[in-house]
C-alpha cells in the first residue's frame, strides 16, 4: 500500500472518528453522570442538521449564525426533554429507559418528516471550506473533512480540560464512579445533570451540522449513527470520555482502512473489533470492572 493511501485513510478515519466522538461523548456522559441510556441521542444529531439546513435555506441566515442558532435550539430542546421525560427515568430500570427514549425517537423522527418531508435534503459546505488542499504532490484532500477533524479534536480538548481540570469535571468523574456517594456528600446534582445533558446535546447537534454536507440530511439519519456510537462506547468503556475518544478513533480508523483493505466486509469490521474487545475486556478499554 502506498504511503499516500495510508495518509488519506488516516485522515478519513480521524474525520469519521471525531464525528463519532462528538456523539459518543454526550451519550457516555449522560450514562456516566445520570445513569440513563438515551437512545434518542441520535435525534439531537438529526435536529442539529435539520436546524442549520432550515435556517440557511428558508430563513436565509449566514452559515455561522445558522449553526449557532441550530445548536442553541437543540440545547433548549434537550433541556426540555431532560426536565420533562428523562429526569423521572433515572430511578427506573434500563428497560423503561429504553422504551421511553425509543418513544422519543418515534416522535422526533416523525416531527422531522412533518416539518421537512421524507426526502433526503442536500446540505451545503460553507464557502470558506469548499475546495481541496494539496497535501503532497500526489494527494488532494477536501478542506472540509480536515475542518471536521479539527472541530472534533478541539471539542475533545475542551471536554478533556473541563472533565480533568475543573471542579465540575471532578464531580462528573466522581458521579460516573459512584453516583449515590456524590449525592451523599451534599452535592446538588440537579443543575449538573442539566449542564452535562445540554453539553451532550450541543455536541451531538454540532456533529449533525458537521456531517450534513457529507451524509445529507434525512429523517432517521440519527438512528443509524447512534448504533455506531454505541459500538464506540462499548469499546471505550461506558462513562469514560477518554474511552469514547479512543474508541471513536479506533472505530474511525478501522472503518477507513477496512474500506480499502477489505471492501466486502468493511461495514462489519467495527463490530468484529467490538467482539474482540468484549472477549478481552468486557467492561471496555477504560471502563470500570463489571460487578
Amino acid at each position: 500500500m502506498q504511503f499516500s493511501t495510508v495518509l488519506v485513510q488516516i485522515l478519513n478515519g480521524l474525520q469519521f472518528g471525531m464525528l463519532l466522538f462528538l456523539i459518543a461523548s454526550g451519550l457516555t456522559l449522560t450514562f456516566g453522570v445520570m445513569g440513563i441510556i438515551n437512545l434518542a441521542h441520535g435525534a439531537f444529531f438529526m435536529l442539529g442538521a435539520y436546524g442549520a439546513f432550515h435556517l440557511i435555506k428558508f430563513a436565509g441566515w449566514p452559515f455561522a449564525a445558522a449553526y449557532a442558532g441550530a445548536i442553541l435550539a437543540v440545547v433548549m430542546l434537550g433541556a426540555l426533554v431532560e426536565r420533562s421525560v428523562l429526569a423521572p427515568l433515572a430511578k427506573r430500570d434500563h428497560l423503561d429507559q429504553v422504551l421511553v427514549t425509543y418513544g422519543l425517537i418515534l416522535i422526533f423522527d416523525e416531527l422531522a418528516v412533518i416539518a421537512w418531508g421524507k426526502d433526503v435534503q442536500p446540505a451545503e459546505i460553507p464557502p470558506p471550506f469548499q475546495g481541496s488542499i494539496q497535501l503532497s504532490s500526489m494527494i488532494v484532500y477536501p478542506v472540509y473533512r480536515l475542518v471536521i477533524a479539527a472541530i472534533g479534536l478541539l471539542a475533545a480538548l475542551a471536554l478533556y480540560l473541563l472533565v480533568a481540570k475543573t471542579r465540575l469535571g471532578m464531580i462528573v468523574r466522581a458521579g460516573s464512579i459512584d453516583r449515590d456517594m456524590v449525592r451523599a456528600l451534599g452535592i446538588n446534582v440537579r443543575p449538573i445533570f442539566s449542564l452535562v445533558f445540554g453539553l451532550g446535546a450541543a455536541f451531538a447537534a454540532l456533529a449533525g451540522i458537521a456531517a450534513a454536507p457529507i451524509l445529507s440530511v434525512s429523517p432517521g439519519m440519527g438512528d443509524r449513527i447512534i448504533i455506531v456510537a454505541f459500538v464506540v462506547i462499548v469499546i471505550g468503556g461506558i462513562g469514560s470520555v477518554k474511552g469514547a475518544f479512543v474508541g471513536a478513533l479506533l472505530v474511525g480508523l478501522v472503518d477507513g482502512f477496512g474500506k480499502i483493505l477489505f471492501p466486502t466486509v468493511s461495514s462489519i469490521l467495527m463490530y468484529g473489533l467490538m467482539a474482540a474487545v468484549l472477549v478481552w475486556r468486557p467492561q471496555g478499554i477504560f471502563g470500570k470492572p463489571l460487578r
Binding site: 441510556i37 434500563h94 423503561d96 421511553v100 462499548v234 462489519i268 467482539a275
Partner: protein, 332 residues
C-alpha cells in the same frame, strides 16, 4: 385470610380465566370460516408476532435480560428460509423449519456467548450492535438480495419427498399452521417458566448474586435461556417468510427489535400471554392508525412514553387488578 388462600386464586377467577381462554381459542380456530381474507392474513401476522413477543418475554420478563437485538434471530431464520427456497429450491417446511430454527439458535449461541460477558446497559448496546451488524451484512451483499431483500415466487408446502400434504400457498391452511405453532409455543413456554429451569431463571432476574451464591451456574442458565428465546424468534422469522414470501433488511433493523419490546410493555412483561395480546393490539392499532394518518408513528411514540411512565403491568396487569378487586370482598 391465610397465606395459603392468598397463594391460590379464587375458584371464580380460575373459571373466568379458563372460559376466556376457551373463547379466544375457539374464535381463533373459527376465524378462517367467517373472517375476510384480509382478516385471516392480519391474524396470521398477529400470531407470528405473538410467538416473537413471547420469545422475547422469556428473555426480558423471566430472565431479566433486556435485549434490543432480538430481531437478529428472527432475521437469521427468515433469510435462511428465503435462501433455501430461492437458491436451493427447497420449499418443504419439514426441512426449512428445522434448518432455519437451528440457524437462529446457532446465531443466538454465538451472539449470546459474547453479549453475556456483559450485563445491564452494556448488554443492551451489544445486542443492539450485533443485530445492526447483520442488518448491514444483509443490506450490502447481493447474495442476500441487497436492500430489496429476497422475494420468493414459489409457495411453501408440507410433505415427505415430492408429495404435498399441505399447500401453504393457501391462506387458511397457512393460518391454521401458524395458529397451531403459536398455541404450541404458548404451551411450551408456559411449561418452561414453571419448570425448575424457569424457577432458576426467574431467580436470576430477581437476585443474580444470590443465585450465584446458591451455586447455580448463572452464566450457563442465561445462555441457554438466550438460545431458547433465539430459536423461538427464529420460528417466528420462518413463519414470517412462509406468510409474506419476503425477507428484507428491515426485519433485521433495531427498530424492529424495539417494536417487539413495545408489544411486551403493552401486554404486560413476564406474563407470556400479555406480550401475545400486545402483538395483537400493536398490529391492529398500527394497521388502523396507518389508514387514518400517515403520521401514526407520532401517536405510537406518545403512547409508548405514557404507558411506560404511568402504567405498570400492561393489559394483563390491568385485567389482574380488575378481577382481583372483583373477588376481593369475598369472605375467606
Amino acid at each position: 385470610m391465610t397465606p395459603l388462600a392468598l397463594a391460590s386464586p379464587p375458584l371464580g377467577l380460575t373459571v373466568i380465566r379458563a372460559a376466556a381462554a376457551t373463547l379466544v381459542v375457539a374464535a381463533l380456530v373459527a376465524l378462517p370460516a367467517f373472517g375476510s381474507p384480509f382478516l385471516v392474513t392480519q391474524f396470521s401476522r398477529v400470531l407470528i408476532y405473538a410467538i416473537f413477543a413471547m420469545s422475547l418475554d422469556l428473555l426480558v420478563g423471566y430472565c431479566g435480560l433486556v435485549s434490543l437485538g432480538h430481531a437478529a434471530f428472527f432475521g437469521i431464520a427468515a433469510y435462511v428460509t428465503a435462501l433455501l427456497s430461492d437458491k436451493a429450491e427447497i420449499n418443504n417446511i419439514l426441512i426449512t423449519l428445522p434448518v432455519s430454527v437451528a440457524a437462529a439458535a446457532l446465531g443466538a449461541l454465538v451472539i449470546g456467548t459474547l453479549a453475556l460477558r456483559t450485563s445491564g446497559v452494556y448488554f443492551i448496546m451489544v445486542t443492539l450492535a450485533f443485530a445492526q451488524m447483520l442488518y448491514f451484512v444483509a443490506q450490502e451483499n447481493a447474495f442476500f438480495g441487497g436492500s430489496d431483500g429476497i422475494l420468493l415466487l414459489a409457495p411453501f408446502r408440507l410433505g415427505i419427498g415430492d408429495s404435498t400434504w399441505l399447500s401453504l400457498g393457501d391462506r387458511a391452511t397457512r393460518y391454521c399452521l401458524i395458529l397451531s405453532m403459536a398455541l404450541l409455543v404458548l404451551c411450551f413456554l408456559s411449561f418452561l417458566v414453571r419448570s425448575p429451569f424457569g424457577c432458576v431463571i426467574r431467580g436470576i432476574r430477581s437476585n443474580e448474586r444470590r443465585m450465584r451464591a446458591l451455586g447455580y451456574a448463572v452464566g450457563r442458565y442465561k445462555l441457554i435461556c438466550f438460545v431458547i428465546a433465539g430459536a423461538h424468534a427464529g420460528l417466528a422469522g420462518h413463519l414470517y417468510v412462509v406468510l409474506t414470501s419476503l425477507a428484507d433488511p428491515s426485519i433485521l433493523d433495531w427498530l424492529h427489535s424495539a417494536q417487539v419490546l413495545l408489544m411486551l410493555i403493552i401486554g404486560g412483561i413476564g406474563t407470556l400471554i400479555g406480550p401475545a395480546l400486545g402483538a395483537f393490539v400493536l398490529i391492529v392499532l398500527t394497521d388502523q392508525a396507518s389508514e387514518l394518518t400517515e403520521h401514526w408513528k407520532l401517536v405510537v411514540g406518545v403512547v409508548v412514553i405514557a404507558l411506560t411512565l404511568f402504567s405498570r403491568g400492561g393489559i394483563v396487569g390491568l385485567a389482574r387488578s380488575g378481577t382481583a378487586s372483583l373477588f376481593a370482598r369475598k369472605p375467606s
